[in-house]
Symmetry: none
Subunit: 119 residues, 4 copies
């Protein structure tokens, strides 16, 4: 499956779809000028209504990330990777702060990072 949606998350589904697509572009899973899945194909695959995917794609187009091609689908334009990285760091910092508030030790966070990145 192309990606997974968390239907119990407070983050709206259309927003999750937007994020996932941006991530895929950032990771070069999707390259410039490449077609992304059709609205209906993606909707079916992730078990979501067509309108929800359509909204995500429409907003991504407004943001200049993808572009619709008449009668044939959507292609990738590109993303501002620097901004994505900056945003992710900001998000990371917030959770580090709340971890600190919970008195989770620094070394425990380091350990988790090592687990994820490999040592």
């Amino acid at each position: 499956m192309w990606f997974h949606i968390d239907f119990h998350s407070y983050t709206p589904v259309y927003k999750q779809i937007k994020n996932k697509i941006k991530e895929k572009i950032a990771k070069k899973d999707l390259k410039e000028n490449e077609y992304i899945p059709s609205i209906r194909a993606l909707a079916k695959e992730i078990g979501v209504n067509l309108n929800t995917v359509a909204r995500a794609y429409r907003e991504l187009e407004q943001e200049g990330v993808i572009q619709s091609v008449r009668g044939s689908g959507y292609i990738v334009i590109g993303i501002d990777k620097e901004k994505m990285i900056a945003d992710k760091k900001e998000e990371f910092k917030k959770i580090v702060l709340s971890a600190k508030n919970l008195k989770i030790e620094k070394k425990e966070l380091f350990k988790i990072i090592d687990e994820v990145y490999g040592n």
Copy 2:
């Protein structure tokens, strides 16, 4: 102000209130048997409707975190701190993974942690 609500967050306000109170208990800002602000007072302070705070308190009571005292408000019972820490670590791990996907370097994450915790 006792704490801050992000009205633009997708996390519902009542949920944010619950989280903030749990955090305060975890941080020992609020201790067992201590009174928490009345529904009315808190609603006024953070600028939300009474019903919203009432819902947060009602759910916290159901979870055994606080308890209403006849005619005089709510007192802290306690929280499962281990669970809160485990949840936070889980949350942390997810964001580390997505940082890795964005090719953010390990040392950059370490640096942010050092900034937050002090070196």
Copy 3:
């Protein structure tokens, strides 16, 4: 009735709603900080689905024209009137050009303007 939608126009309904609201703001029919009709009220009045109005409002909010107020509706922020006027003139110019192509005489256009504006 607050305004009229042309269901036979190629201009999508949500777009017509956006335009009408902007016009009303430009005409001072709607003033800053004033509430606009609720999504459901307007939808009912103009005989359109709630989602269609919701989309129009959402986009107007993104454009900074209106702003949603939690639990109570949308208020007017304001519009870039200069831009609206410039756009309208551009639109006007185009139709003048096509009138010219049809060999409609200049004085006939003047006559129509006089009719509309009063002489």
Copy 4:
């Protein structure tokens, strides 16, 4: 290029094609009994699918504007120029009204007309 299609317009492409051809006939760029470009040729020239041009021609034929000639293409029959002019004036009047609503001054419209028609 014979004429230009605006792919971002809400006016459907087939409709734009119909309008452009009618305009050309009204302007005498295309005269009665003259051949118009073949479906294939026009489709290639303006960069649209054959079906789209075919639909435009089919409708123009139904309206009696053009006529297919067995095995050799389509020829111009003629148009109701009076109706085209009346429609254009109606369209013009509407935009004058909305210009008035925006408080655009009469003399500014006159100025634009003078620019387009030459003084």
